[in-house]
């Protein structure tokens, strides 16, 4: 057999294996990324979504955060303007987690309508970029 043919066979084996790993990886670890409205739509048509891990991207409703340091429980409401879900999270919140920031929570929606999050990521529009104001104080960009 020519070396070139051997390389093509070897290469096809590598590519095939990786293709299989990627496909199964996406199937097993892929997570739906939804907004509260999309989640509400999905749930209303397909109840199996209660059993699937999902990521929800939303904004923290101002003044809705309660923290219990002793039990390390954080509750807040997350909204996209149309739909709002209460979220419960156990663990440490990132420094950037505060009122009106965009968060990505990963977890499951409970049948009672609360979102039980296992991870909480917060991002802040002003994290690296900012808009100066006349009073000299930093403010979040109006988005």
């Amino acid at each position: 057999m020519r070396a070139r043919t051997k390389f093509i066979i070897g290469g096809a084996l590598v590519v095939g294996t990786v293709g299989y790993l990627m496909a199964s990886g996406i199937k097993e670890t892929g997570v739906y990324y939804l907004t509260p409205t999309e989640l509400a739509t999905k749930i209303s048509t397909d109840h199996s979504f209660y059993n699937v891990g999902i990521k929800m991207g939303a904004r923290v409703v101002k003044g809705s955060i309660t923290r219990d340091v002793a039990t390390q429980t954080i509750t807040f409401r997350a909204t996209d303007g149309t739909h709002t879900y209460p979220v419960i999270y156990h663990g440490l919140a990132p420094d950037t987690f505060t009122d009106e920031v965009d968060v990505v929570v990963e977890g499951r929606l409970q049948p009672d309508g609360t979102f039980r999050a296992t991870t909480l990521l917060a991002k802040c529009g002003s994290r690296y970029e900012a808009v100066p104001r006349p009073n000299g104080q930093g403010t979040m960009p109006a988005t």
Binding site: A3, R4, K6, F7, G10, G11, V14, V15, T17, V18, L21, M22, S24, G25, I26, E28, T29, G30, V31, Y32, Y33, L34, E38, K55, G57, V69, A70, Q72, G91, L92, P94, D95, T96, T98, D102, V104, L121, K123, C124, G125, S126, R127, Y128, E129, A130, V131, P132, R133, P134, N135, G136, Q137, G138, P141
Partner: protein
């Protein structure tokens, strides 16, 4: 002064336009006066961009808060060190730095190659000029660093506290240098394709440049990992975040190129592939920036989403059409001079090395873009995270590690059974002994055992090469061993520098494999209370909470929690983790609070303590305690990697003659001289 800067940008824009037109014209018509004009324009552009950079730096240092950029990223109480780094803390300043770096590299490339490659340099100047046109256009039309406000704030907003870290001072410029310096190889590739001078000449001109880009990118990535580890406080250094992946992609293609270019030099094969890799690396550098600036992919590192992203997309498409279009046009001229003789050869192992690097790049690319892909195909966004990337890349990474060991051992063209036996005996012994010892101590993670065994194999390879080379010099030239060793490396810098890079990679793999043994606990402690944490080595850390204190320091208000740490009953130190509330010059709080992590580090493991907050009004504190084995090896592996890169790059002995192609070369220095 900012007016001067602004004018300088505009003039740069027109000069760059001129240079791009004249450069390509000169390349086509071979008119020397046009070529000279294009070349001079590159130097003029560089001078103008230096003026613009000085203007911005001056505005920053003199606190000219009427300038939007200055007000957005600095404040009166920001230390000078960080005021300086604010130059590239934001997008607008970064763009200026990019343009400046591209024109600097372009100028250096033209100066270094003065009088050489006469048919290529006008096209090189033209291509560099196009890149500069793009960056400067983005600034003057969409994101001008000299933009003024309608009012003058009394103080600026200050720099985000997470960027007030030495890692952040050096990490971005390193990455930018890596991203932008690849423009020079790209320009040479375009020039070679346009002029039809597709012999190995252009390869000699760019091999070092690619190595420079690779070196900067490597340093930038490792510094970024270090910054994430010490500053962000989540206990790791790599999260497969889109921004991280974006810097990893061109690194992979450049690494592939640095290997496959050797096949072209020695054997005249893989010509199309190499041009493809250079073009691809350049596109991926631009793509990385597009990804983070356009908001197409949501990342935790959210930069502002601006229309600048679309400038990058347009440029990306144009560059792809130019690069790959030219490649397709010259396809017939890029036939291989010889055929692959045997898979059991240096070429064969390099082919697989390239294949795996590209497959890794593809899987990372696919995973990063999967939210977009899945939304386009199925209408629902699906994201993949670290489990996906680890599942695919751990086996691929280990195969690559295996090839790192195999490559240097087998001969070019066709390895004989005798060659294989002689070369593989000791490295394979190292592999088997390591695997057996790890099995004997019952290391629990199977992947880690494989990683360490393969690591030992690569180290065996490298040590064998150094030892045999030194012995051979000692025998042939009668040199003392240390002298023979130094001369061996000095006379074959590219080769032995490469081996040092391999050692650095082994250290990095060893560190990554250590992640399998990471331990993490969260605990709430009152002052005087303690917690015991087991390390994977079987040690017990006894951590006692000493209390919470509050004080003002520099530009921030600090709440600090202190713990005493005993390891197996022996005191090893007092660690303090802080919550910092940064203040502006009037003492008002700015930004969200940030965390300073306490790390106790040695070669075996890191104890990583994060003070997550105190129970309201008391000194009862919540801690997250992480034990990170072998993290030290990431930083030192990065250092060794950079050292190897520098050895390879060091100018001197290797002129174009040494690099000129030899048809075939037996494996190993010994075989060569014996």
């Amino acid at each position: 002064m900012t007016d001067i800067g602004n004018v300088a940008l505009w003039i740069t824009f027109f000069v760059a336009l001129w240079a791009s037109v004249v450069g390509f014209l000169a390349g086509r018509t071979h008119r020397p006066e046009l070529a000279r004009s294009a070349e001079r324009s590159i130097f003029v552009m560089w001078g103008l961009l230096v003026i613009a950079a000085v203007a911005l730096m001056r505005a920053l240092l003199t606190h000219d808060f009427n300038v939007e950029y200055v007000a957005a990223y600095t404040s009166r109480n920001l230390p000078v060190f960080y005021t300086w780094s604010a130059f590239y803390a934001g997008q607008k300043g970064s763009l200026l730095l990019w343009a400046l770096v591209v024109s600097t590299f372009g100028s250096v490339a033209l100066l270094v190659n003065r009088g050489k490659y006469r048919e290529l340099t006008p096209y090189v100047a033209g291509t560099i000029a196009i890149v500069v046109v793009f960056f400067v256009a983005t600034m003057v039309f969409a994101s001008n660093p000299f933009e003024r406000l309608g009012f003058t704030p009394p103080d600026g907003r200050g720099l985000n506290p997470q960027l007030q870290n030495p890692g952040m001072v050096f990490h971005p410029p390193m990455l930018y240098l890596g991203y932008t310096s690849i423009s020079v190889p790209f320009a040479f590739a375009v020039a070679a394709l346009l002029s039809g001078r597709l012999d190995t000449g252009w390869l000699h001109a760019i091999r070092r440049w690619t190595l420079v880009s690779w070196l900067f990118l490597s340093c930038g990535i490792v510094l970024g990992m270090w910054w994430a580890y010490v500053e962000l406080g989540w206990g790791g250094y790599w999260a497969w975040d889109p921004v991280e992946n974006a810097s990893f992609l061109p690194w992979l293609t450049m690494t592939a190129f640095l290997h496959s270019v050797m096949i072209q030099e020695k054997r005249g094969m893989l010509k199309k592939w190499n041009i493809g890799l250079v073009v691809g690396s350049f596109l991926l550098s631009i793509f990385g920036t597009f990804l983070t600036r356009s908001g197409v992919i949501s990342s935790v590192h959210s930069f502002s989403q601006s229309n600048v992203g679309w400038f990058f997309l347009v440029f990306l498409v144009l560059a792809a059409v130019l690069g790959f279009g030219l490649l397709a046009w010259r396809w017939p001229m890029l036939q291989a001079e010889v055929k692959l003789e045997s898979l059991v050869s240096r070429e064969g192992s390099f082919l697989f090395n390239n294949l795996i690097l590209i497959v890794i790049a593809f899987s990372v690319f696919w995973g990063t873009l999967f939210p977009v892909i899945s939304e386009a195909l199925r209408g629902t966004k699906v994201t993949v995270g670290p489990p996906f990337f680890n599942l695919v890349n751990v086996p691929l990474g280990l195969m690559l590690l295996l090839l790192t060991g195999i490559g240097p051992l087998i001969a070019w063209r066709r390895a004989s059974p005798e060659n294989l036996r002689r070369q593989f005996l000791w490295p394979v012994t190292a592999l088997l002994v390591t695997a057996a010892s790890l099995a004997a101590i019952r290391m629990s993670d199977w992947w880690s055992v494989v990683a360490y065994a393969l690591g030992a194999f690569v180290v065996g390879t490298v040590v064998q090469e150094f030892v045999r080379g030194t012995l051979a010099r000692h025998r042939l030239h009668g040199e003392m061993y240390p002298l023979a060793f130094v001369r061996l490396v000095g006379r074959n810098r590219r080769r032995y520098g490469g081996y040092v890079v391999h050692l650095g990679m082994v250290m990095l793999f060893a560190a990554f494999a250590g992640l399998a043994f990471k331990r993490e606990t969260e605990v709430t402690l009152k002052p005087g209370q303690s917690v015991d944490v087991k390390s994977p080595y079987g040690w017990t850390y006894h951590i006692t909470h000493q209390g919470v204190s509050q004080y003002e320091q520099l530009n921030r208000y600090v709440t600090a929690a202190t713990v005493d740490v005993l390891r197996n009953g022996k005191y090893i130190g007092t660690m303090r983790s802080e919550k910092r509330q940064h203040l502006d010059s009037l003492g008002r709080p700015t930004f969200e609070p940030s965390t300073a992590v306490a790390i106790h580090s040695d070669a075996r493991e890191d104890l990583y303590v994060v003070f997550a907050g105190a129970v309201e009004g008391t000194e009862e504190a919540v801690f997250r305690i992480t034990i990170n084995p072998l993290v030290w090896w990431v930083w030192y592996g990065g250092f060794v990697l950079a050292l190897g890169g520098l050895i390879t790059l060091w100018p001197g002995a290797q002129g174009p003659t040494a690099a000129s192609r030899r048809r075939a070369e037996p494996a190993g220095y010994v075989a060569q001289v014996a």
